[in-house]
């Protein structure tokens, strides 16, 4: 700012704020800032006046009150005696659960369909195109409702499993029951379990068994990757790749199996008791419908992204790979996909974020995500619209911003370093 250190004091006039390009941008910024402040102040003033008129105050004290409603799909302990805060946390975890499951399945579907759409097989590529067009061009809310309809209409009721001449049977050797209320799967149980440890002042319980298994698993994976790196180094040096897959498999699998045996691992099968299944864990039909609908819908978009990414790689690349004698599968894995990833990742991130945001439509099928708990029942029970909706938005904003920050960092790492 050399112009500011030695201003031509004598010649400065007020009109220069408008007409001198040195000052004009600052003037505009100050005017915009003042205008913005005035606007925000006006809105806040309205809020304060309106809340005073209706006798409300702005505070989050209600989060500590008893919620009084039940949440039927949950990963943590919760009852109607719990607080609104805990209901919101359960909802947030449910949102994250369906978002993560959805992102995984959508990527899986999207990559497969995207590759199939480029297949030379006429009917396969046409089918992939039909799938993409049908799912992309119908609103996701309709898909959620339709798939919820399929799940609750066409799947057998729990009572169909009963009696001598049951119309429905459990699948996978009597271990999984697929009903219109949800899917019952076996749950892992431990005879000699280590129990749970409360954290954060008794608010959550962490299963020590799970922690132990995860620790063993990750140690195994870490050592396995070291072995892989050593094999790569040997290959680079001598040209001969030592066969290490059995070492890698063993170092991951054996310790985990030993741990499981030591803990006395067994599966608790779901059983029909009375009118419903007991035992096992269970995914509610609303979660399944939401998960499938979001995955299929977003999968169609991801398929297009994958197709565009693969098409963006010049044909010379695959011809060069063919000239080197690589088989088509290896060409795709080693040559095309790694390069296509650079094109694919940025739009993929935005699809993941879209899926997360679309998961808020859970409220249409009664899945208790954060929109349904905090923005639905809690809002209606406490009548604190401003607080709940602000908190709701803040949660989604935090998810969106952190996902895009992580993904952007990854994106930066994989981008080609250009001049």
């Amino acid at each position: 700012m050399t112009t500011m250190t030695d201003p031509p004091k004598a010649s400065f006039r007020l009109s220069m704020l408008l007409y001198d390009t040195r000052y004009r941008s600052n003037t505009i910024q100050v005017v915009v800032l003042i205008g913005f402040m005035l606007g925000v102040g006006w809105l806040l003033n309205n809020v304060v006046e309106n809340m005073a008129a209706s006798g409300k105050t702005f505070n989050y004290g209600f989060l500590g009150d008893k919620s009084g409603y039940d949440i039927n799909q949950r990963l943590l302990e919760y009852s109607s005696q719990s607080t609104h805060l805990r209901a919101a946390v359960i909802g947030l975890i449910n949102t994250l659960l369906v978002a993560v499951m959805g992102c995984l399945l959508a990527t899986f579907i999207g990559v497969i369909v995207g590759v199939l759409r480029l297949s030379h097989n006429w009917i396969i590529s046409r089918l992939a195109a039909v799938y993409v067009e049908i799912f992309r061009n119908v609103p996701v809310l309709l898909w959620i409702l339709l798939i919820m309809g399929v799940v609750s209409d066409s799947l057998p009721q729990p009572k169909d499993f009963r009696g001598e001449n049951a119309t429905a049977t459990m699948s996978l050797g009597d271990s999984v029951a697929i009903t219109n209320r949800g899917i019952y799967v076996p749950e892992p149980l431990f005879e000699r379990g280590l129990g749970d440890v409360p954290v954060l002042g008794n608010s959550f319980e962490v299963s020590l068994d799970l922690m132990l298994i995860l620790a063993v698993l990750f140690t195994g994976l870490f050592i396995s990757s070291k072995i892989g790196k050593r094999a790569n180094a040997i290959q680079a040096e001598t040209g001969v790749r030592p066969t290490v897959w059995w070492q890698r498999l063993g170092i991951v699998a054996i310790p985990v199996l030993i741990t499981l045996y030591a803990l006395g691992f067994y599966l608790g099968y779901p059983e029909l008791k009375g009118f419903n299944f007991k035992g096992g864990t269970y995914l509610r039909s609303s979660l399944i419908a939401l998960w499938l609908a979001l995955s299929l819908y977003t999968g169609a978009f991801i398929a297009e992204i994958v197709r565009a990414g693969i098409n963006a790689i010049s044909k010379g690349q695959s011809e060069a790979a063919a000239a080197l004698g690589l088989r088509p599968g290896r060409t795709m894995n080693l040559i095309i996909l790694p390069q296509a990833m650079r094109v694919i990742i940025p739009p993929l991130i935005s699809q993941f974020l879209n899926l997360t945001k679309n998961s808020s439509l859970a409220v249409a099928v009664g899945y208790m995500d954060i929109t349904a708990t905090l923005g639905g029942i809690t809002l209606n029970q406490t009548g604190r619209e401003l607080e709940t909706i602000l908190l709701l938005m803040a949660c989604y904003l935090a998810i969106s911003l952190s996902v895009s920050a992580v993904m952007n960092a990854y994106n930066e790492r994989t981008q080609l370093k250009e001049r």
Binding site: L18, Y19, S25, I28, Q29, V32, L33, F36, L43, N46, V47, E49, N50, M51, A53, S54, S119, H120, N121, W122, I123, I124, L127, E133, I134, R136, N137, V138, P139, V140, L141, L142, L145, L146, G149, D153, K357, N358, S360, L361, V363, A364, T371, G375, L379, E385, L386, I389, L392, M393, Y396, L397, S400, L401
Partner: protein, 601 residues
């Protein structure tokens, strides 16, 4: 040259042999496209079987459906009779009966032409943007569209749009004058300010003043006019009654015949399918009739009001005096309270509250009479279209309306936000980035919650406008953030040379934007704007969650009737099909545009 004999030299080319029969025709195509190798063949066969299995269920269900039925039970009866047993086929009767509601909601059926015309005007308005070589005068429609379309949809006096348009005229005139006198920036600020002053303070005054004046001038003859019109309207009602009665008789006759056939155990499916369209016709005849009867009642009420107008106006003067007297008695401590909800029994004395309540009651009485009189003047002075309330908007009309308003209004806001995000001014840039990222970071449903429960909190006390307008505001806010990103993409795609060339020509920022940058950037962005619109159009279905009656909301309304309570697939399938038609054709169109607008190499 010795003649040592090449025994045979071919002097002409061999004619081409036809390719092997396995490489051409149907067989060749099948070999190349479906069965080139083992793996692919297996996939093809699996795919073909899957397609067959899906279609063998879907096609009979869709095309064997029942169109003529008035309820789910009739559907089942017809199917049972045709097939001898109950088979699973679509019951399209629900679409047949409720088609217009799914399309227009509760919008009055005699004025469907208004939204249709608005749509036609929209196409005429965007035509100059999409097609080259249209006459320049077409832009007049583009300019008129934002004023004409709301008027067509909501109705009201004809000067509503004119007065709104005058705001722009005032702004531009003030800008022209002020720019000459005080310089361009001051000119812009003054122009914008004066336009807003016009809209906020003068527009409604002029509009209601005109209505009142015309109402006053018509009032002396109004009673005679209504009295003359009453017999005509009565005749119309009678005529409609005489049309509806035979239809009702016919329906009753058919229902009796059905009952007889049912009791006798004879087939009656044919009677059911004959009855269905007649009953639907009866429904619309009854709807028209009840509307005309409603109009007749309105006219009679209006006549009574007009006749008692003088007495009412005299009474109003008394009431005003009473209210003023009561207000004067209110003690100073509570004198500034005009809303009964603000009475606080803890802080006020009982006498104060009693006096205040007297004053409030008197004011209430005065307001009721005052409102009735001014409404009468407004109604009598209406020159224009019959007003329609937002609550009556529904079905696909609502979805299209929300989608188009969102995109149209978000375009200018999006351009400003995109320019702000690109600008060097730190504060402007931070504000724009903050807004865009905030809106893009939260789901639309939370913004709709804001529209339904929170927006009133942010506006001055007493401002109330209906839910559709609030939803429109939030959808516009939502769409603007996405639009800004689309336009930023267009701006980024322009080569830097364009900016530098504009600078070199000595154009200032706005001139460069207007003449060089924006025309190119917008052209590049058109396909993305269309796909943005498709996304927004699909997202309008979310308004059903806050209980607006868009197509999905209507599906729930229809399922609320016992006649159609268990009809699920037909309704959702139909809505999905219509959405697919709209979105698929638009996406194809945007691909076509992309190719057409490609001026690169």
């Amino acid at each position: 040259m010795s003649d040592n004999s090449v025994s045979y030299v071919r002097t002409e080319m061999l004619s081409e042999q036809s390719p092997p029969s396995t490489d051409v025709g149907v067989v060749g195509w099948l070999r190349n496209n479906l069965f080139p190798d083992v793996f692919s063949s297996i996939l093809s066969i699996i795919a073909l079987i899957a397609v067959y299995m899906i279609l063998s269920v879907l096609i009979p269900w869709v095309f064997g459906g029942v169109w003529n039925a008035n309820s789910q039970w009739e559907c089942r009866e017809v199917l049972e009779e045709i097939h001898g047993e109950l088979v699973d086929r679509a019951c399209w009767g629900v679409i047949h009966e409720r088609f217009w509601q799914l399309m227009y909601g509760f919008f009055p059926n005699d004025i469907y032409w208004r939204p249709n015309l608005a749509l036609v005007v929209l196409f005429a308005a965007i035509a100059p943007v999409l097609f080259n070589g249209l006459p320049k005068q077409m832009f007049i429609i583009s300019i008129a569209f934002p004023f004409v379309a709301p008027w067509l949809l909501w109705g009201g006096p004809v000067w509503g749009p004119v007065v709104a348009f005058l705001g722009f005229v005032v702004g531009i005139v003030v800008h022209k004058i002020a720019a000459k006198a005080f310089g361009s920036l001051t000119g812009i600020i003054l122009g914008v300010l004066s336009a807003f002053v016009w809209w906020i303070f003068f527009a409604s005054m002029v509009s209601s003043g005109l209505s009142h004046a015309i109402g006053a001038s018509r009032m002396p003859t109004e009673a005679a006019r209504i009295e003359a019109a009453l017999p005509v309207q009565q005749a119309e009602v009678d005529r409609l009654q005489s049309i509806a009665d035979p239809i009702a008789a016919k329906v009753e006759e058919l229902e009796a015949a059905i009952k007889v056939a049912k009791d006798a155990g004879e087939p009656y499916a044919e009677l059911l399918t004959t009855k269905a369209p007649i009953k639907i016709a009866l429904g619309s005849a009854v709807a028209t009739l009840s509307r005309e009867i409603g109009d007749l009642k309105d006219m009679k009420r209006r006549l009574a009001q007009v006749n008692s107008l003088e007495a009412d106006e005299a009474r109003l003067i008394d009431l005003i005096a009473e209210a003023e007297a009561a207000r004067a008695k209110v003690p100073a401590a509570v004198a500034d309270i005009f809303n009964p909800r603000e009475i606080n029994e803890d802080t006020m004395t009982k006498e104060d509250i009693a006096l205040l309540k007297v004053a409030l009651r008197a004011e209430d009485k005065r307001n009721i009479v005052q409102n009735a009189i001014s409404t009468l003047y407004k109604d009598v002075g209406l020159v224009g279209l019959r007003p329609v309330g937002s609550r009556d908007f529904g079905g696909f009309m609502l979805a299209i309306l929300l989608g188009i308003t969102g995109i149209v209004l978000s375009l200018p806001i999006g351009i400003v936000l995109a320019l702000g995000r690109q600008s060097d001014l730190l504060i402007v840039k931070t504000l724009c980035v903050g807004f865009i990222e905030f809106i893009r970071g939260v789901p639309l449903i939370t913004l709709l919650f804001v529209a339904s429960v929170l927006l009133g909190l942010f506006l001055p006390k007493g401002t109330e406008f209906d839910i559709i307008l609030r939803v429109m505001i939030m959808i516009t806010v939502f769409a603007s953030a996405y639009m800004a990103e689309v336009i930023r993409g267009g701006l980024a795609a322009l080569p830097t040379g364009q900016y530098e060339a504009a600078d070199a020509l000595g154009l200032d920022y706005w001139q460069a934007q207007r003449l060089i940058i924006m025309p190119q950037a917008l052209k590049i962005s058109i396909p993305s704007i269309v796909s943005n619109f498709i996304g927004l159009f699909k997202d309008t279905t979310l308004v059903s969650i806050i209980a607006l009656s868009d197509p999905i909301g209507w599906v729930k309304l229809i399922q609320g009737n016992s006649e159609w309570s268990s009809v699920v697939w037909e309704l959702y399938g139909f809505v999905a099909f219509v959405f697919f038609l709209f979105c698929f054709s638009m996406s194809r169109y945007s691909m076509y545009l992309e190719r057409k607008l490609q001026t690169g190499h």
